[in-house]
Symmetry: C2
Subunit: 336 residues, 2 copies
DNA sequence: CTGTTAGCGCGTTCAC
DNA sequence: GTGAACGCGCTAACAG
């Protein structure tokens, strides 16, 4: 039954010294007798003393906890980023508290409140697809809690950001389609609000422009969620006449449903239509034809984001910065 | 700059009442004047007061934080389980702290220590593939911190467990191969220590036995990690003569590398060799031929595990239990 | 019904 | 060098 954690008090009693001396020994303060210090450390190790983070937090106003909010933990992209964060967090002795917004702005706000109640030292967030309001984030900032946004950011909110150069990634993908001979390239765009949707769309448009191809609104379709509901839009694209000879997709999962649908309809990929996706999801290497896609360094994004955040926590006056990581075009059979 | 969180003290001062009255109002204690209570609640809402969980934790000896340790956050299986946990945690107003062991027993112990230092109310864990020692877990238990193991459990350690009936899942898969005409079925087994490896192996052996097929040691190969290094073993299996006509894999990823390798070698799947995997990873629906596999209810596992843990936290004397969830055989083209 | 007191585990003065 | 006293934000016991 609850052999309660050992505290500095226990150490003090057993060594017949005061708690403040123990405290000093434990966080190697300057003025302390090396002898007593060693004695304390030895006993602490024996009893496997662990400082109570809550109590430390209460007095130091620092919890060593970092809050993380992502739209969905499952999702290759985010779980890789989280993985990168845990690595750095371990190295710096920070703890991570994860929340999931499920792409819902309301849930996102509730998560942030929960994290604030836990007095996290900082906040890492990738916003949901319909987050618009910056009010909650301003509040966090006002509380003196540094925020770093990663991947999905809020243009109207000023803070450090770690993003992927989605624009360039999209541009490269579409340029590749053009060089492979596509003249009528469609685009399945993502949810309206998401920053990533806009950036990829812009890359698509600019690539067309660079090669003198017209931007045809009828060839630009939208899906409202990142993971599903792409099929209706896909059907529309395929049905348009003249048929497109290339499609650039907002992500791999929708590209894959498209490929499967087209194969069922007897359309040859890449013969009739060439296809490019985004993310380099594991499935894109496995589907036949394998999918040309844009790889994002999600693990790196996670590591960088938490690194910047920890900097900001340790040096509150450090300037806000935006880091943009480059993507890599992975060329496979769907654009052969 | 740090417009510090508002505290009950602030509320008390503004209302000219004592902090204990405020405290009572906030957690609707029995004896409190409805009028003053309303006044407190109103002001609290206006100032968007949030209780400091660290302080509450310090006095109540409860943090409302649950620690979670998994081998790898990325990994479809675990991220789904984590997703299920966050849902329940939200509902019961618990916070989750995640750690990743990277399949390393040492890292796992360090994670547990960190979580204990944060005074988590309970621990959810899926052990790494080389965790053997139960000492650390016994310590956790002695501290009065309830533990629930899920998916990958430690047979020698007594605690509540939520597992998937891997044995039955493996049995069904192998039985299916047999019914499809396979007479010489190989098995790519998982790491030696992992409980899941043993369970799936047993299902394989018993299914063979039931149908009077011999168990041939030469047809049983091992891989040392869950995610890689399967290829050498796969090559060995394929090279054995007479060649097997069916293979049951420890997981989908190794099954898929095998299919790709066999296709390169001109071996027809399912014509020459039929293949079954485990997990129902998204890729298994996409590869051609699509992969017959055993689906595990990972999201449900997560939800159940945290549910049991919260029960144990709230009622420390509740009995330990082991819940086993059933798998579902997903039949696709690789066993046609 | 409400205020006072004490204490959770720890860090931080300030004397000694 | 070391100990005593105080406070972080909050709950709990006891008076009134």
């Amino acid at each position: 039954m609850s052999t309660a954690q050992v505290t500095i008090k226990d150490l003090a009693r057993q060594l017949n010294i005061s708690v403040s001396t123990v405290s000093r020994a434990l966080r190697n303060a300057p003025d302390i007798n090396p002898g007593t210090k060693n004695a304390v450390l030895k006993l602490a190790a024996e009893l496997s003393y662990e400082p109570n983070v809550m109590a430390q937090g209460l007095v130091k106003k620092k919890t060593k906890i970092i809050g993380v909010v992502v739209p969905a933990i499952h999702s290759n992209y985010f779980s890789d980023a989280l993985s990168g964060m845990t690595e750095v967090a371990n190295a710096y002795d920070y703890h991570l508290m994860f929340c999931q917004s499920n792409e819902d702005a309301g849930q996102e706000i509730r998560s942030i409140k929960k994290l604030l109640a836990c007095h996290v030292d900082g906040l890492l967030i990738s916003v949901s697809k319909d987050t618009k309001n910056t009010a909650e984030f301003e509040k966090v900032k006002q509380l003196g809690v540094p925020v770093v946004m990663f991947d999905r950011t809020l243009p109207d909110f000023t803070c450090s950001k770690v993003i992927v150069d989605e624009y360039e990634g999209a541009f490269k993908a579409v340029e590749h389609l053009i060089r492979k001979g596509c003249k009528r390239i469609a685009h399945l765009a993502g949810p309206v609000n998401a920053s990533v949707s806009a950036n990829r769309m812009k890359g698509y448009i600019d690539a067309l422009a660079k090669y003198g191809l017209p931007v045809n609104d009828k060839l630009i379709l939208r899906c409202n969620a990142f993971e599903e509901d792409a099929l209706p839009a896909i059907k529309k694209i395929i049905a348009s006449r003249p048929m497109p000879d290339g499609i650039f997709f907002i992500n791999d999962l929708s590209a894959i449903s498209a490929i499967q649908y087209m194969q069922k309809k007897g359309i040859n990929v890449p013969g009739d239509i060439k296809v490019a996706g985004f993310n380099d999801d594991p499935v894109s290497a496995v589907i036949q034809p394998s999918l040309t896609t844009v790889m994002q360094p999600s693990y790196e994004v996670g590591k960088l984001a938490i690194g910047i955040l920890i900097d900001a926590i340790l040096k509150p006056e450090s300037p806000e910065q935006t880091i943009s990581l480059r993507t890599k075009l992975v060329i496979r059979d769907s654009t052969k």
